[in-house]
Amino acid sequence: MTNLLIALAPEAFLVITALVVLGIGVSAPKARGAITAATLLGGLVAAAALLLHPVDGNFLHGMVVLNPLARLFKLVLLGLGLVSVVFAAESFPKLHFAEALALLLFSMVGMMLLAGTEDLLMIFLALELTSLPLYILAAFAKESRASAEAGLKYFLIGSVAAAFLLYGLSLIYGVAGSTNLRVIAKLSGDPDPLLIAGIALTLLGFAFKIAVVPFQLWAPDVYEGAPTAAAALIASGSKVAGVFILTKILTLGLGHWTGTAGWGQFAPGWAPVLALMAAASVVLGNVAALVQSNVKRLLAYSAIAHGGYLLIGLCAADAPSLTAVLFYVIIYALTTAGAFGVVVIVEKQRGGSHLEDFEGLGKSSPVLALCLLVFLISLAGIPPLAGFFGKFYLFTSALANGRHLWLVILAVAMNAVSLYYYLIVLKHALVLPAPKETVPTAAPASKFLVVLLALAVLALGLAPNALIGPLSNGQTVKNIIINTLQK
Amino acid sequence: MTLLTLIPFLGALLVACAPSCRIARAVGLAVMAGVLAFAGTLAITYDRAAGGIQFLERHAWIPSLGIEYFVGADGMSLMLLLLTALISPFALLAAGPGLSKLHVVLILLLETTLLGTFTALNFIHWFVYYELSLVPAFLLIRSPGTKAATAAALRFFIYTLLGGIALLIGFLAIQLATGTWDLIHLAMLGPKVDPLLAAQFGWPPAGLLVFCCIFLGLAVKVPVVPFHTWLPDAYSESPSFVTMLLTGLMSKMGVYGFLRLLVPLFPQRMQELSTPLLWLALATILFSAFAALAQTDLKRLFAYSSINHLGYCLLGIFAVASVPLGAPAARAAATNGVLLQIFNHGLTAATLFCFVGFLERRSGGLRGMADFGGLRAVAPVFTGLMGIAIFSSLGLPGLNGFVGEFLIFGGTLHLVWWAAALAVIGLFVTAVFLLNILQKVFAGPLPGHWSKFPDLTASEILTVVPSIGLMFLLGIFPQLLIALFNKP
C-alpha cells in the first residue's frame, strides 16, 4: 500500500499543486508570476518524487504498473507539461489564468496515469482525464471566435472518438473477460468477430488521440484556434501519451492479432489497418501542409504526417521498431513543443502566427530564428538533428523484417516533400526582410526554454544513445511490452 | 633541346614585364636571334653520318599513363626548327608599327609551342604543344578586334580543335592496342599497329577507323580540301604578320604530322587508300588553284595559293606511300622534294604575306587587286623584291620553289604518273594567277591617287632581304638543306 502511494506520489503532488494554484487564483488572481512559479515548483517536486524514489511493480491488478519505461515516459510527459506551463504565461489570456494552469496540471495527471497502467478501464479513465481539461483549454481564449470553434470541434470529435474507444474497449473486455492487458494477451486462436470489431473501434478511437486519418480533421482548427500553449500540449504531451498507450495495448494485449501489412503478403490483423491509416496520414498530412499559410495549421498537418510515420513503426511490431517508435515520439514531442514555443513568442511580438508574421525574425531575434531552424529542420528529418536519427531509426527498423518496403518508400518520398513547406516557413523567418521594424518583446523564460529544447534536439541528434539507451537497455521494450508477443 | 623550347617561353615572360613596347620588341628580337643561333648550332652539330634522331632527352612525366617527356630531332625536325627560328623574327620585323607588347608575347609563345611540336617524340607531349599553339594563334588572329577577325579566329580554333580531338581519339586507340605513346617506338612497330588495333577491338576495320581519325585531324590542319574552309578567312582577316606565322609555320605542323604520325604507322592503309588519297591531294591542288584564280583580294588569293602549295607536299607524300617498294630513286626524289617544299613554302609564303602587309600599310588596308596598278613606276624596289618572291612561288628555276616542286613532280611521275599529270594543271593555273598579280598590281597605268605611293623603306628592305637572299641561295644550293635529311 505504501508502495502504491509512493508510486502515485508524482500524480498526487500535481493534483495538490493544482488545488494550491486554484487557491492562489481565488485569492490573488493577478499574481500570475506567483501562479506560474507555484505550478513549476509543484511540477519539479513531482519530478523529484519520480526520480528520487523509484518503485517498480504491479499494483491493483495492473491498474497501476510502474517500470523503468513507464517512469521514463512519465518524466517526459511531466517535462512536456511544464514546458506548456511556461509557454502558457505568454499565450493564455490574463483572466482566469490560475484555472488554466490547474487544468493543464489535471491533464498532465491524466497523461501520467495513462503511462503507468495496463488496464483498459484505467486507460479509458486516464484518457478522459487527459482530454476533458484540454477541451476546455482549447476554448480558453474567450474573446476569440477561433478558440471557441477549436474547443467545440475538439470536444465534439473527441466525444465521438471516445465513444468509439469505449465501445472498442468494452468489446475487447467482453471477449476476454478481463480488463487487464496481460490477461487479454492469453487469448489465442482465431479472433472472435466481436474482438475484431473491438480492435477496429479502438484503433479509430486512438486515431483521434494521435491525430491520424480518419480522425485527423480536428487538428488544424484546434492547433490554430486554441491558445498556443494548449496547442503545444495537445501536439506534444497528448500525442506521446496516446502513442505510448496504443503501443502497449496493441503489443501487450493484442499481440496475437498483429497480422502483416507487407505488400502482397497481407495477413489479417491490426497491422494492415494501421498501415492504411499510416499511408493515408503521411500523404494527406504532407500534401495538405504544402498550401498552409498559418504556421500553426502547418504544424498540425505536419503532426498528422508524423502520426503516420509513427504508425509505420508500429506496424512492424518488433522490438527495434517499437524502440524506434517510442524514441521518435519523444523526439517529435520535444521538437514540436519547441516549435510551438517559437510560435508563442512570435505571436506575442506580432500578434499572429501567419507566415508574414515570421518575416524578419532572423534580423530581430536571431537566436529564436536559429532555434526555429533547428526545430523545423529536425521535423524535416535532416541531420545532424534528432528528427533525422529518429526517422532513420524508424524506417530502418520498419524495413528490417523486410515487409514494409512500400510504406517506407512512401514515407521517405513524402518526407522529402515535407522539406518544402518547412523551408517556406524558414524562408519567411530567415530570408525575407521584416515589413516594419519590430521591437522584440522580452519573454525570457520561454526563450530560455526554447533554446534549451533546441539544444536538446541537437544533442539527441548527435548522441541518440542518450535516449535509445534507456529505451532499449536491459531489453526494456522487449520485456515490458512484448513478452507475450508471439510471432 | 629542352633549352631551345624554353628560351622563347622565358623570353615571353621577360617581354611581359617589359616597360614599353619598343623594349619588348627589342627583347623579343634578341630572344629570337638566340633561338636562331641555337637552332643553327644544332643543325651544324647534327651528326649527318649517323642520321636518325639525335639530341634525345627523356624523363618520366606521368608514369601511370605511360606519358614521358621525350624530345629529340632528326633532319626533318631540324629543318623545321630552323624554319621556325627564321620565320618568327621575320614576322616580328614585318609587323611594323601597331605591334603591341601582347603581340610580342604571343609570338614568342607560339614559337615555343612550334619548337615543342617539332621536337616532341611522345605523342601526348607532342599533342600538348600542338594544341597549345592554338591559343596564341587564336589570340593573334583575332587581335584586330573586328567582327570578321573574331569570327575567323573562332572558326579557326574550332575546326582545328575538332581535328585535334579526332587525332587524340585515334591515338588513344593506338596506345590501348600497343601500350605506348612513344612515336619512335610506334614507328618501329609500323605495319604491326593495324593488326594490333584489330585485335584490341576484335573488329578488323578498327584500324581503318583510327586511320581516318588521325587523317582527319591532320587534314584540317594542313588543310586538305574539303577541310580547308576555315583557312581563307583566318588568313585574310588576321594581320599580315600573323598570316606569315600561320602559313609559314602552323600549316607545317600538319604536314609534319603526316610524316611523323600517319605514314610510319599505317604503311599498308596508306598504300590501300593511295588512290583516294591522291585524289584528295589533287583536289586540294586543283581546287585551290582555280579558287585562287577567282580571287581579287590579294590575301585570299595567297591563302588559296598556300593551300595549293601544300597540296604538292601531300601529293608527294601520298605518291611515295602508294609504292612502298621499288623505285628507290623516285621515292627519294619525291621525299626530298616534299621536305624542301615544306621549307620553301614556309619561306616564300611568309615573304609574300609580308609584302601584302607592306602594301596594306601603304594603302590603308586596301588589298584588292583592282585597287592598285602600275606601282612599278613609283615603287621599283617593292616591285622587284615582291616579284622575286612571286617567281619563287611559281617555281622559277634558280629560285628555291623550283627545286622542291621539280623533285616532287619528278618523283611522282615515276610513281603515279596520272597524278603528276593532273597536278601539272595546277601548276599552270598557279602560274596564271601569280603572273596576273604582277600584271594587275605592278604593271599597267598608275591610278592618280597612288602617285605618292612610297617605296620600301630601308628597314623594310632589311626585313625582306634575308629571305629573298635565302630564296636565291636555296634555289642554287638546295643541297644545303637536302644534306640535313640524307646521309652523305
Partner: protein, 495 residues
C-alpha cells in the same frame, strides 16, 4: 585525427561566428578565413603525409569510435588516395571561396556560419567510411545551401534555391531508401562500408538497389536529365556558393556514387552501366549544346558544369583504371576550374557591372576596364576547354582512354561534346571579354587583393596539375587496387 580536424575546424568556426556579438560582426570573415585555412592545412597535411609506398596500408588516418552501437553505427573516418585528393580540393575551394566573399556585408555572421557548415559537411563526406556517417554529412550540406542562395543570391534566387534543395532532397530520399534497404538486407547490423562491401547481396536486390542509390547520388552530380537544378541554382547563388556548388558539392554526388553505390553493388553496376554511360554522354553533349545557346554568362558556366560532370560520370562507368582515375581527376580539375569561372563571373564581373548578359558585357570593354578579370577568365576558359597544359586535359584524356576500352561507340558523341564545349566557351569568352564592336569603356572598382589572391591560387593549381598530374594520379590510381574498389576494375590487359 588530422582528418577530423578538417571538418571540426569548419564546424567550430561556424559556432564561433554564431557567438559573435552584433557589433563585432565584421570579424566573421576573419574567423571564417582562419577556419578554412586550418581545414586546408589539415587536408594538405593529409595529402602530403599520405604514404605512397607499396607496403603502406591502402586506407590511412583511420579513426574508429563507437557512436550508436544499437544500430551498428560508428564514427569511422579515414582516407584513401581518392579521399585525400578531394579533401585537398575542398580545402582549396573553401579558402578561395572565403576570399571571394570578402565583400559580404549583408548579415556576414549568418553567411559565413552557413558557409562553414557546408564546408564541414563536405569534408566529412570525403572521409567517412561508415555509411550512416557519410549520409549525415551529405545531408548537412543541403539546408545551408538553401539559405545561402535564398538570402544572398541574385537572379530568381528563391526559386533557384528551392529547386536546388528539392532536387537534393529527392536525391537524398533515394539514397536513404537504398541505404536502409541495404542495411536491412545485409543483416550484418552495421553501416561499416568495409563489411557491407564484402558482398552477399543477391543480384535481384542489386538490380534495383544500385540504380536507386546511384541516381540518388548522381542527382547531385548533375546526371542528365536530373541536372536542371544545377544551372538555375548556380546562377541564383552568391559567388562563393556557386564556387562551392560547382567546386565541391557536385563532387559529393559523384564521389559518393563511386564510394558507396558502385562499391556495394558491383552486379547492379554491371547491369546498368551502359545506360548510365549513355546518360552521362547525353549530359556532355546536351549540356554543351544548351550552354551554346545561353545569353547569360553565368548560365553558360552553369551548363558547362553539366558537360564536365558528364565526363566524370562517363569515366566512372568505364570500370577501368584509366576511366575511373580520370573521373576522379576530372572531379578535382573541374572543381578548380569551375570555381574559378564562377569566381570571375560572379564576383569580379557581376558585382561590378551588375549584369551578366553576354551582349551587354561585350559593350563594356572589359579587356580595358578589368584586365585582371579578363586574364583570369581567359585562362579559366582555356583550362575549361581541356587544352593541354591545364588540369582538364589529362583528366579528359584518361577518361577518353577508358571509354575506348569500355564504350568505343560513345567516343564520337563525347568528342563532339568536347568540341561544342570549346565552341561555347570561346563564344562566351570572345563576346563578353573581347569586344568586337564599338566599345563603350566604363570604369569599375579595381579588383581587390583577396580576389587576386584567390584567382592566382586557383590558376596556379590548375596549371600545376596540368603539368604534373602524377601528383594526384598516383594516389588516385592506387585506390583502385585497394580492397573496396579492386573488384570494380574490369581491366583489359594492355600489351
Amino acid at each position: 585525427m588530422i582528418l577530423t580536424a578538417t571538418f571540426l575546424s569548419a564546424f567550430l568556426g561556424a559556432g564561433l561566428i554564431l557567438l559573435l556579438p552584433e557589433r563585432r560582426a565584421s570579424l566573421a570573415k576573419w574567423i571564417a578565413l582562419l577556419a578554412v585555412l586550418a581545414g586546408l592545412g589539415g587536408a594538405k597535411f593529409a595529402f602530403l603525409s599520405f604514404d605512397h609506398s607499396p607496403a603502406a596500408p591502402d586506407y590511412q588516418f583511420l579513426t574508429w569510435l563507437p557512436w550508436i552501437p544499437q544500430l551498428g553505427i560508428s564514427f569511422f573516418t579515414g582516407a584513401d588516395g581518392i579521399s585525400v585528393v578531394l579533401l585537398l580540393l575542398t580545402g582549396i575551394i573553401a579558402v578561395t571561396g572565403v576570399l571571394f566573399s570578402w565583400n559580404v556585408t549583408h548579415r556576414p555572421r549568418a553567411f559565413f556560419a552557413f558557409y562553414l557548415i557546408i564546408i564541414g559537411g563536405v569534408y566529412g563526406v570525403f572521409q567517412s567510411f561508415d555509411l550512416f556517417l557519410l549520409f549525415v554529412f551529405y545531408e548537412i550540406v543541403i539546408i545551408p545551401k538553401y539559405f545561402l542562395i535564398a538570402a544572398w543570391g541574385s537572379t530568381n534566387r528563391e526559386y533557384g534555391a528551392m529547386k536546388l534543395t528539392m532536387y537534393s532532397v529527392a536525391g537524398s530520399a533515394l539514397v536513404l531508401l537504398a541505404l536502409i534497404a541495404t542495411y536491412a538486407v545485409s543483416g550484418a547490423q552495421t553501416f561499416d562500408l568495409f563489411v557491407l562491401s564484402r558482398g552477399g547481396f543477391s543480384s535481384g536486390f542489386q538490380a534495383w538497389a544500385f540504380p536507386v542509390m546511384f541516381i540518388g547520388f548522381a542527382v547531385l552530380a548533375g546526371l542528365w536529365p536530373l541536372h536542371t537544378w544545377a544551372p538555375t541554382g548556380h546562377v541564383a547563388a552568391p559567388t562563393a556558393v556557386s564556387m562551392l556548388l560547382a567546386g565541391v558539392v557536385m563532387k559529393l554526388g559523384s564521389y559518393s556514387a563511386l564510394r558507396v553505390a558502385m562499391t556495394l553493388f558491383p552486379e547492379g553496376l554491371g547491369q546498368w552501366r551502359t545506360s548510365f554511360a549513355i546518360l552521362a554522354t547525353a549530359g556532355i553533349v546536351l549540356g554543351a549544346l544548351v550552354a551554346l545557346a545561353q545569353k547569360d554568362l553565368k548560365f553558360t558556366v552553369g551548363y558547362s558544369s553539366i558537360a564536365h560532370m558528364g565526363f566524370v560520370l562517363l569515366g566512372l562507368m568505364t570500370l577501368n583504371r584509366a576511366g575511373m582515375g580520370g573521373a576522379v581527376l576530372q572531379m578535382f580539375s573541374h572543381g578548380i576550374i569551375g570555381g574559378l569561372l564562377f569566381a570571375v563571373v560572379g564576383r569580379m564581373i557581376y558585382d561590378r557591372t551588375h549584369t551578366r548578359d553576354i551582349a551587354d558585357l561585350g559593350k563594356m570593354d572589359l579587356l580595358k576596364a578589368l584586365p585582371f578579370a579578363t586574364l583570369t577568365f581567359t585562362i579559366a576558359s582555356v583550362a575549361s576547354m581541356g587544352l593541354p597544359g591545364f588540369s582538364g586535359f589529362i583528366a579528359e584524356l584518361t577518361i577518353l582512354k577508358g571509354s575506348w576500352i569500355a564504350f568505343p561507340w560513345l567516343l564520337v558523341p563525347a568528342g563532339v561534346g568536347i568540341v561544342i564545349t570549346v565552341a561555347f566557351t570561346l563564344r562566351a569568352l570572345q563576346r563578353a571579354f573581347y569586344p568586337s564592336g564599338e566599345p563603350m569603356p566604363q570604369s569599375f572598382d579595381p579588383i581587390t587583393f583577396p580576389e587576386k589572391l584567390g584567382a592566382v591560387l586557383l590558376m596556379a593549381v590548375t596549371v600545376c596539375l596540368g603539368v604534373f598530374p602524377s601528383m594526384l594520379l598516383n594516389p588516385i590510381l592506387r585506390s583502385f587496387q585497394a580492397p573496396l574498389m579492386h573488384h570494380l576494375v574490369q581491366e583489359v590487359t594492355t600489351k
